[in-house]
């Protein structure tokens, strides 16, 4: 049995028949071929699959594709705007906030959620916001710096 869903992903409308048990993350990766959203665990712990649904950071392995019916989804592929990197993308490169790159999309999507709701986070607030995203490479040091850098940059853009 398949169920038809309609979703908007990175501004594009999609309509697909999916198995009821298909996870949203598998729908994004296998059906839409948006492979920037990664799978690092099976317990919704690692955060590699984090996307935004209706503007809120969400672990896409915790939802079935059918639950996302009617939703507006942003994945890492939708973060750059006409080729201009999002300030967080720029920041992760500038501050060496990534090594193997596997956790990076999830880190950026969670950080984007943080900065939307708290444009001036303290170091501790950044660390707590990223508590649900694992990175095995960077020791988090440069990820925290990346978020600080992006926060500052986004603030300047607002002022301008």
């Amino acid at each position: 049995m398949s169920i038809r869903i309609h979703v908007k992903v990175n501004g594009v409308e999609y309509s697909n028949d999916v198995e009821p048990r298909l996870l949203l993350v598998h729908y994004l990766r296998d059906t839409l071929r948006l492979t920037g959203t990664h799978i690092g665990c099976d317990t919704s712990s690692c955060g590699a699959c984090t996307i935004q649904i209706n503007g809120l950071a969400t672990k896409s392995c915790t939802l079935l594709a059918v639950q996302a019916d009617g939703c507006d989804i942003t994945t890492i592929e939708g973060m750059a705007n006409n080729g201009d990197l999002h300030p967080l993308q720029e920041a992760f490169k500038e501050c060496h906030g990534l090594q193997c790159g596997f956790c990076t999309p999830g880190m950026i999507m969670t950080s984007a959620d943080l900065l939307q709701h708290n444009p001036h986070p303290t170091e501790q607030e950044i660390r707590e916001a990223l508590e649900g995203n694992f990175c095995r490479c960077t020791g988090y040091h440069n990820i925290v710096k990346s978020v600080q850098y992006a926060a500052e940059k986004m603030q300047k853009e607002v002022v301008v």
Partner: protein, 791 residues
Amino acid sequence: MSATNGLIGQSIRRVEDKRFITGRGNYTDDIILPHQTYASFSRSPYAHANILNVDIEAAKAMPGVVAIFTGADVANLNGVPCGWQVNFKDGTTMKEPKHPLLVKDKALHVGDPIAIVIAETREQAKDAAEAIVVEYEELDAVVNAAEAVKPGAPQVHAEAPNNICFDWELGNPKSEVEEAMSKAAHVTILEFVNQRMVPNAIEPRSYIGAYDEAYDKYTLYTSTQNPHLIRLLMCAFVLGIPEHKVRVVGPDVGGGFGSKIFHYTEEALLTWATKKIKRPIKWTSDRSESFLLDAHGRDHVTKAEMGFDADGKIVALRSKTFANLGAYLSTFSTAVPTYLHGTLLQGLYTTPKINVDVTGVFTNTTAVDAYRGAGRPEATYLLERLMDLAALEMGVDPVELRFKNFIPPFNGVDEPGYQTQVALQYDSGNYHGVLEKGLAMLGYEDFRTQQKEALKNGKLLGVGFSTYIEACGIAPSAVVGSLGARAGLFEVGQVRVQPTGKVSVYTGSHSHGQGHETTFAQVVADKLGIAMDDVEIIHGDSDSVAFGMGTYGSRSLAVGGSAIVKSIEKIVEKGKKIAAHKLEASADDMEFANGKFTVKGTDKSLSFGDIALTAYVPHVYPKDLEPGLDFSSFYDPANFTYPFGCHIAVVEVEKETGKVTMKRFIAVDDVGNVINPMIVEGQIHGGVVQGIGQALFEGAEYDENGQLTNGSYMDYCMPRADDFPMFETGSQVTPCPHNPLGVKGAGEAGCIGSTPAVVNAVIDALWSGGHKVKDIRMPLTSERVWRAMKQ
């Protein structure tokens, strides 16, 4: 050699980042091949069991099932091999039981594969795997290495009596060490467990096997650290298929930390099965499988003794370790507790008598192999815990005790390296320097005042030191060959100058986070005097790269980078001949600097691009010279490299709960010359968190039945962003005297130095409060620290 354009030594932002920050990385699981199928496994739920019957009939009838293979189908294939032979003390070879691709009669650890199911979709494969009915007879299991060697313990392999794989020693004769120890004024004894770690690269292992009948060619996409080595082991030792008909690709790989070095059974099984079904097969491990199957690290049970004279000089060291190897030998598992551990027990000290004794033991657990640091963290933990504990016991300053025992500085150029008692010869070192720098960053005298003040306010503050050394740049082939390695450990670097002067570099090193696409390009662009944009680094594909030994043991730059430099030297030498011909000068009169070939003492010169074009359009060209500008080099290092450093941890222990908080962490590392400081610091940060993870949070826990009780991210405590302060890093540069870049390697340093520093800091905090605790078993959870204070 050419003058440089100053790219070496700069924190150039990474070339590879763009694809990762935009979600365009290409990891194995991102690849879907036409007509691809999916695999899933039926795995043993028991740690030790006879397999009485495997019924696949119901599973075969499930929707979408393409094929099912069991242990009986692959019984004639070889198992996956171990790459390092360690001998018993009497010279007999280690016990090496077969590690089959699927087990047929007996399962030896939880997760041992019984059958592979191949189906049209991932879900159908999983459904059918669950429909396989296996009848088991559960047997008693053994999980602890020290228990496994005792009489009456369950036997894992019939051919390994008492579960002993090997029984090995290194260093001075035991009698000499005993004599020195008996004269010691003080002996510090420490019995401890260096617990089992789960590597936990965030990308789970993933493979696609694809056979192309038209070309009679296999392709294996694999999340590996060394594609060529996988091809060699799989073709020559497991499947007996022709190497030239197999392409192994390691695309973007999401972290390794050792766990993706090894040749795993699934790689060979998918490559074998794809020819059977004539369709590609993908298998991606889920995290639960990763916990059960990816080779674990550490797991030593050790007793160590360090003797001091009345003046505080070390007179002898001895240790006895039971090293858990798991149920099967993994690719490098036997080398880790022996030649990567025992050989490092000289540490930074002038200890005159050392004996290290290691028994390698089979148990009903996941295989244990190299995990970031691999043997060297275990050696450092042993030594550095002993040093701080000895200082506490003798009532002397741990810093003074180290200064008193350090090997004096040597550069390895004006004098030979330092010959240790445990086989190695250190290349160059200035051990006083890193400790002095660390103390200055800490403000040591102020700290002791703060510690006393804190105590008055009811707080326990502690400082812990760790001054470490590691053997990296693995390794001289002749040396490791004499020590039991079954492969050479050189590296290959090809530099292909294109007709337009752009440069493609093919390296046998593999980048899975280390940033080779940046640092290697920096080296090439610097040496050739061209822009970094004109250089591309290609790695990870056995059809593109001539050969390679891969990335582990902090070897990529020291060995792989040196191979590239050798090829660059050949390019420059040939370029001089071409330039000399065109400029009507002698090749001996040519010099190369800043991207120009110039006749010495004149302004007559040709650019690198001119020479490249001439090499491919050889109209005006030396008669005896071949066209083209493309060289490949094999570099086999003269020695290991020996990075070293000083790590200092400051912790606060909450009296009421035992909770440990990291207050400061200082790392001063000397990794030789540095190509890109930003990347080196990043490596240190990551290693430090893995090392602190071992000290405070992580550890695989088996119950007596051999069940891994914390085999998920809900149960295994991974270090998180809010567990740490910002780190304070410092550096010192003592160049490596024997490779052309003077580099030593930075990948593992953080993980080697940090663990004992943190544990020492907790012990120091407890002693400051009057709790004279010798050891707390890692990880130092609140409960364990609290219980230690209550003793």
